[in-house]
């Protein structure tokens, strides 16, 4: 898993693809394939018959999956291409779709970006291929993110239920207990910073993914999408809960405003000066490689709660594989998807360090019992799996979240430079979102 993958926030949203797109399946050059229901036998036949598949993805564990897949179906030739990570990938994909040539058959799609492409009628509905029957295969968060009403726009590949990753050594040195609620989190932040002015409980320089996930956990629904009607309210109860708490953290200088994924950030994580991160379950591999000096110091705890004793979490990051509408061999492409994300490919990817979206693996005893050396032998998957099942439902992303996140630093980011309160920053972000949406033909209300 690469870094930018996680930075961009994904999410499991009840993906808000527009209803308009649901009727679009038949419009491709081989429209017939998508419009008629296909049986598993038809899919197997397509796999046996074979053909060439172009897959665009940056998920590194797919290399091995493709290798195994080609060994099992010798007539299929899969070309796996990494055209960029995160936004670069979407730019390339959008360009190929606009140009109408060179479009891959299968593409990786982060949960937060999926609605932007399904609404553009760029992704094929997989329900006619039997994808709807996989609903109990995946945990509800990721499944909600790839479905819209009866349409299925991809099969979940991984997920990012959130948890509190913390440096136990730093916490012990300062005599601070692991916070179970956000109130305790603020108190812990004060104590940590007081014990050593270079130590901060966490780092945040204004990250759209983090902010939306925090609002999500707090029960906010800032984005509501129904067809092309979008309602934006970044001052709802959930958003306000987040801004009030985080504003206090910023005012008292309790957050290191170090941009994520920079050298400075990794150094801070490695030397204990950034003592904790509230982020997705894909983080362990990144800590191991980026903050190696702190090996053995880090632990995982459940995400802090808004009310003591509650068990509510949100998702941050994660992606699916989707079939493009432009693909001329959707049945074959779907066969690959099923293999990679519901079949034998899943185990291969887990071995490579992926955090699963599949229920069977999330509850698998061997998976739960795995002890992580980096985390001092803690069975971290127990905590992370628990989080996956406690995700607050009903969250939706904007059908143009990729754009919205790109202007987050212009608006909310200004609150991190001290020039404006967080609530005003969110209001400015809302203004940008509403303006852009209306320009793009949506009906955006506030």
């Amino acid at each position: 898993m690469t870094i930018r993958h996680h930075r961009a926030v994904g999410a499991l949203a009840a993906a808000s693809a527009l209803a308009l797109t649901l009727t679009a399946c038949g419009s491709g050059s081989d429209g017939g394939a998508a419009a008629e229901a296909m049986s598993p036998e038809d899919i197997s036949a397509a796999l046996e018959e074979g053909g060439d598949l172009l897959v665009w993805a940056w998920e590194p564990t797919l290399d091995k999956v493709v290798e195994d897949f080609e060994a099992e179906y010798p007539n299929v030739d899969v070309e796996l291409a990494n055209v960029g990570t995160g936004n670069d990938h979407y730019v390339a994909l959008q360009n190929a779709i606009s140009a109408g040539s060179g479009v891959p058959d299968v593409t990786q799609m982060e949960y937060y970006a999926l609605p932007q492409f399904s609404i553009g009628e760029s992704l094929a509905d997989l329900a006619p291929f039997g994808a709807s029957e996989l609903d109990s295969t995946y945990s509800p968060g990721p499944w909600g993110a790839v479905t819209e009403d009866d349409a299925v726009y991809g099969l979940p590949m991984d997920s990012g239920p959130m948890a509190l990753f913390y440096n136990a050594k730093t916490f012990e040195k300062a005599g601070v207990d692991v916070p179970a609620t956000w109130e305790e989190f603020v108190t812990a932040a004060e104590k940590l910073h007081a014990s050593d002015p270079n130590t901060y409980i966490t780092a945040d320089n204004g990250d759209a993914g983090f902010a939306t996930s925090m609002i999500w956990q707090a029960g906010g629904h800032p984005f509501e999408v129904d067809g092309t009607d979008v309602t934006v309210n970044l001052a709802d109860d959930g958003s306000t809960k987040f801004t009030e708490m985080w504003q206090q953290m910023l005012d008292d200088d309790l957050v290191a405003t170090v941009p994520a994924w920079t050298d400075e950030w990794f150094q801070g994580l490695g030397n204990g000066e950034i003592a904790a991160l509230v982020t997705g379950a894909w983080m362990p591999a990144n800590l191991e490689s980026g903050a190696a000096p702190a090996s053995g110091d880090w632990r995982v705890a459940p995400m802090p709660q808004w009310t003591a004793g509650a068990k509510e979490t949100a998702e941050n990051g994660g992606s699916a594989l989707s079939v493009t509408e432009a693909s001329e061999q959707k049945a074959l492409a779907y066969g690959f998807l099923e293999y990679a994300n519901a079949g034998d490919g899943v185990a291969t990817r887990l071995e490579g360090g992926n955090f699963p979206a599949t229920l069977a693996d999330l509850t698998d005893e061997a998976f739960l019992a795995e002890e992580s050396e980096y985390f001092g032998g803690q069975k971290i998957n127990e905590v992370l799996s628990e989080s996956a099942t406690s995700v607050v439902t009903g969250w939706q992303y904007l059908p143009y979240q990729v754009y919205a996140n790109s202007v987050f630093p212009d608006t909310v980011g200004q609150s991190y430079t001290g020039s404006t309160p967080l609530a005003d920053g969110l209001a400015a972000w809302q203004q940008s979102i509403v303006g852009y949406g209306n320009e793009q033909g949506f009906t955006v209300g506030e």
Binding site: D263, Y403, S406, V407, P409
Partner: protein
């Protein structure tokens, strides 16, 4: 007599020859024109075409005439970027060209020990790719682990993080200056090399000191080069993109998506998929740059005459 009888034939032959030579000329510039049309004219025409339409995520593409232009002219984000590069231009370009001229004169004076070494080292930053240079300076500017941090630790000063304060634009100016001083120095130096030595000899006989030689002979002699370097620098300033774009990941809250007009056009098309509006911004910026560069050229020429 024959000459009287045949006059009509002469123009005919000449005409044919002229016609043939006209086509021969095209043959020579043809390859250039083809490439020029492909990589220069075609993109401009396509941008102009794009700028007259609007493509929406919902609703598709429609012809909107000059709406995009009207929008750009009233877009505070666009003017914010234009204002920033203009300020950059007014401060950074004189500083950079001043240093370049000083260095060129010093090297040309013949009094410098290790002249060739000096010339090469000053030019060297230009050979560093812009992206690498911006990354390198980005690390040095760090106030925790970078050079600025070390400096603060050593001398007990408290210079704020250049990338997260009002020092940001000067910090970018510093990178650009560092990179282009050598390039401009070479332009000036080569112009100085072609000044006839006899002028210096004459000046010496007339009793002119070195400063007098500089102000009366050297600087006027390289005015053409000064104008060219100024125009290049103006274009470079208006197109400022590399440095802010690379440093953006280190300082996203200070380098907005509309920090410079080029960065704005880039963000519009690559994260907002507003290709039409992006093309409009690019065209307006191109016209603006052309106007300023042309004004400078006219002024430079007039002085020269």
């Amino acid at each position: 007599m024959t000459t009287l009888a045949s006059p009509p034939a002469v123009p005919k032959i000449q005409g044919r020859m002229r016609r043939r030579s006209r086509w021969a000329g095209w043959g020579f510039v043809g390859p250039f024109m083809a490439v020029f049309a492909l990589v220069f004219l075609a993109p401009i025409v396509y941008s102009l075409y794009l700028s007259l339409f609007q493509t929406q995520l919902v609703g598709g593409t429609s012809f909107v005439g000059l709406d995009n232009y009207a929008r750009a002219l009233g877009d505070p984000q666009f003017w914010d970027g234009v204002g920033r590069v203009t300020l950059f231009l007014l401060v950074q370009v004189p500083v950079m060209l001043g240093i370049s001229l000083l260095v060129a004169l010093a090297i040309d004076s013949g009094r410098l020990y290790g002249r060739d070494f000096f010339r090469l080292t000053i030019f060297l930053p230009y050979a560093v790719p812009g992206v690498v240079a911006a990354l390198m300076w980005g690390f040095m500017y760090g106030d925790r682990f970078g050079l600025v941090g070390n400096f603060n630790d050593l001398f007990g000063t408290s210079i704020p993080d250049p990338l997260a304060s009002v020092l940001l634009l000067p910090a970018i100016g510093n990178i650009v200056t560092w990179q282009f001083v050598g390039y401009n120095m070479l332009i000036f130096y080569s112009a100085l090399r072609v000044v006839p030595v006899s002028l210096y000899e004459a000046a010496e006989i007339d009793g002119a000191g070195p400063w007098r030689v500089i102000s009366a002979i050297k600087v006027p002699a390289i005015r053409g080069a000064l104008v060219v370097a100024t125009i290049f620098s103006i274009i470079g300033s208006f197109q400022l993109f590399n440095e802010p774009s690379i440093l953006q990941s280190l300082s996203p809250n200070y380098i907005s998506t509309h920090y410079t007009p080029n960065l704005y056009a880039y963000s519009l098309s690559f994260s907002g998929q507003q290709y039409n509006y992006s093309a409009t911004v690019a065209i307006i910026m191109g016209v603006l740059t052309m106007l300023v560069a042309y004004a400078v050229q006219l002024r430079g020429m007039r002085k020269e005459a």
